[in-house]
């Protein structure tokens, strides 16, 4: 009975599905990188002391937090060409996701940065670190740790949201699913398999991110440079105890 549900010839679609999967991952990676950078910028502008700029950044965040992602996708892909701005499908998809997720990420980053004790900045200043060094080595790494759980949730959410790009035929997994369905007329089977595929992708991604969070919280040095320095310190310490 159950086997009767599965009679799409999946091996035939495997290469196309593979390409679609890569496309989904490309959308995810490009959009997340863009959204993280833009989100950080917006967060920093919202924290700057100049009110008009702060207001502008707040307006951005509120605008994109309160408009559905699908509306943003339609606006960039179908709307903008009529005012002379034409994007390729990939650009339109990525831009929409970036604009939308940057708004959420900026909120996460902003609260992370404001969550750092003022004493941290003071200690850095008192040690003669400049503004940039203070941000790069004291504020940012700590904010990153605070922001990590929320940011990771957003990354997984973004991966799922790439499926909305089916509406602009973005050649990602959901679009491919639609194609296979139209050829096989096996909607239940196809969408069940595709849903499973999304689940496997998102679940493994979130597990990896959780592992990363645990490592960082446990104080494991992840960058090779930091590992080298800690190793050097350990060597010096051992020298001292044996001497």
């Amino acid at each position: 009975m159950l086997l009767a549900l599965f009679n799409v010839n999946w091996s035939e679609y495997a290469p196309d599905l593979w390409h679609a999967l890569l496309r989904t991952l490309e959308y995810t990676a490009a959009s997340f990188a863009g959204a993280a950078v833009l989100g950080l910028l917006v967060a920093l502008v919202r924290l700057n002391p100049f009110p008009p700029l702060r207001l502008l950044a707040a307006a951005y965040t509120e605008l994109f937090k309160n408009v559905p992602l699908l509306a943003i996708i339609f606006l960039t892909y179908f709307g903008l060409p009529s005012v002379g701005i034409t994007f390729s499908t990939f650009q339109a998809g990525a831009v929409s996701l970036i604009l939308f997720y940057a708004a959420y990420l900026s909120e996460i980053f902003r609260s992370a940065i404001t969550g750092i004790q003022p004493g941290q900045k003071e200690a850095a200043e008192a040690l003669g670190l400049g503004r940039l060094a203070t941000f790069a080595h004291v504020v940012f790494p700590q904010a990153l740790r605070i922001a990590l759980p929320g940011t990771n949730t957003m990354l997984v959410d973004l991966l799922k949201s790439t499926s909305l790009l089916v509406t602009i035929a973005a050649a990602e997994v959901m679009t491919e699913a639609q194609l296979i369905t139209s050829e096989t007329f096996r909607a239940f089977e196809v969408y069940a398999v595709i849903a499973g595929l999304y689940f496997v992708l998102c679940f493994s991604l979130s597990q990896v991110l959780l592992w990363l969070e645990r490592q960082i919280r446990g104080g494991v040095a992840l960058s090779p440079r930091r590992r080298r320095r800690l190793g050097a310190a350990r060597a010096l310490l051992d020298e001292g105890t044996s001497a």
Partner: protein
């Protein structure tokens, strides 16, 4: 009468040593409330000055003015003979370098929680003083050993006791080889045992001739290590002198009250 005439730190037997810190007529107010009112302070190189007085009396603000974490409204500040603040504005050209020459130890330690003890001590060496990593690490290990914490070098602040954290903070401040070290109530958030550890390290520093300005309520300690004690209340210097005088035979009523409250261990 100026502090020079009174012979601040007369116990230092090198009269020609330069003045590490000189403060003249410093005023500072927050929201219309005067927290420093015409404060003068002179700290000679190698001497130890304790600033005592009620919390909220201006001790912390005075210390924070010395490395310009706080900007006075008016007055003059000189560090190591160089004017850093005058005529209501910062005149020091290189604020970062000034801060490297004025180390600060905070009441709440303010260690960087995302870095290990040794990295806390190397960060400013590498990023502010541009010391090469190897040299910075070697110095950090040396300093941690000096404050008795070599075995905690790879621990994170949250894994350390308050006393250990404060000793790391002292090593961190020492790493930049400052001209003067400021201590802002370094033992006020510590239990008695940790307080003992930190005071021991500070005494060792005192012996090596480090110039120190210490805001504290630890009167027995202040009496033991200081060359000069300043009692500050309501933003004004009420009384000052050698510790034996200010702490044993205070002249002003407010000083008497304060000394009586804090002299007995609570």
């Amino acid at each position: 009468m100026s502090l020079v005439e009174k012979g601040v730190v007369a116990s230092v037997d090198l009269p020609s040593v330069p003045v590490a810190v000189n403060v003249e007529s410093v005023r500072k107010s927050f929201d219309g409330r005067l927290v420093l009112d015409d404060v003068h302070l002179r700290v000679e190189t190698g001497s130890i000055v304790s600033i005592i007085g009620q919390s909220g009396g201006g001790k912390t603000t005075l210390l924070r003015c010395l490395n310009l974490l706080e900007r006075p409204d008016s007055g003059l500040i000189e560090i190591g003979g160089e004017v850093t603040f005058s005529g209501g504005r910062v005149v020091c050209r290189n604020l970062a370098r000034l801060r490297q020459s004025v180390g600060m130890v905070f009441q709440r330690f303010n260690l960087f929680p995302h870095l290990t003890a040794v990295e806390n001590v190397t960060l400013a060496q590498m990023k502010a003083a541009r010391t090469p990593p190897q040299e910075a690490t070697a110095r950090a290990v040396r300093l941690l050993r000096r404050v008795g914490l070599a075995h905690r070098a790879l621990a994170y602040p949250e894994q350390m006791s308050g006393g250990e954290q404060q000793r790391v903070a002292i090593a961190r401040a020492l790493a930049l080889e400052p001209r003067v070290l400021l201590f802002d109530e370094p033992t006020s958030s510590l239990d008695p045992e940790s307080t003992g550890e930190v005071l021991r390290v500070m005494k060792e520093l005192a012996v090596t001739g480090m110039t120190m300005v210490i805001a504290t309520h630890e009167l027995p300690f202040a009496q033991e290590v200081s060359d000069w004690v300043v009692f500050i209340d309501g933003g004004r210097i009420v009384e000052e002198g050698p510790p034996a005088e200010v702490l044993r035979r205070p002249q002003q009523q407010r000083t008497k009250d304060y000394v009586r409250t804090y002299a007995s261990p609570r």
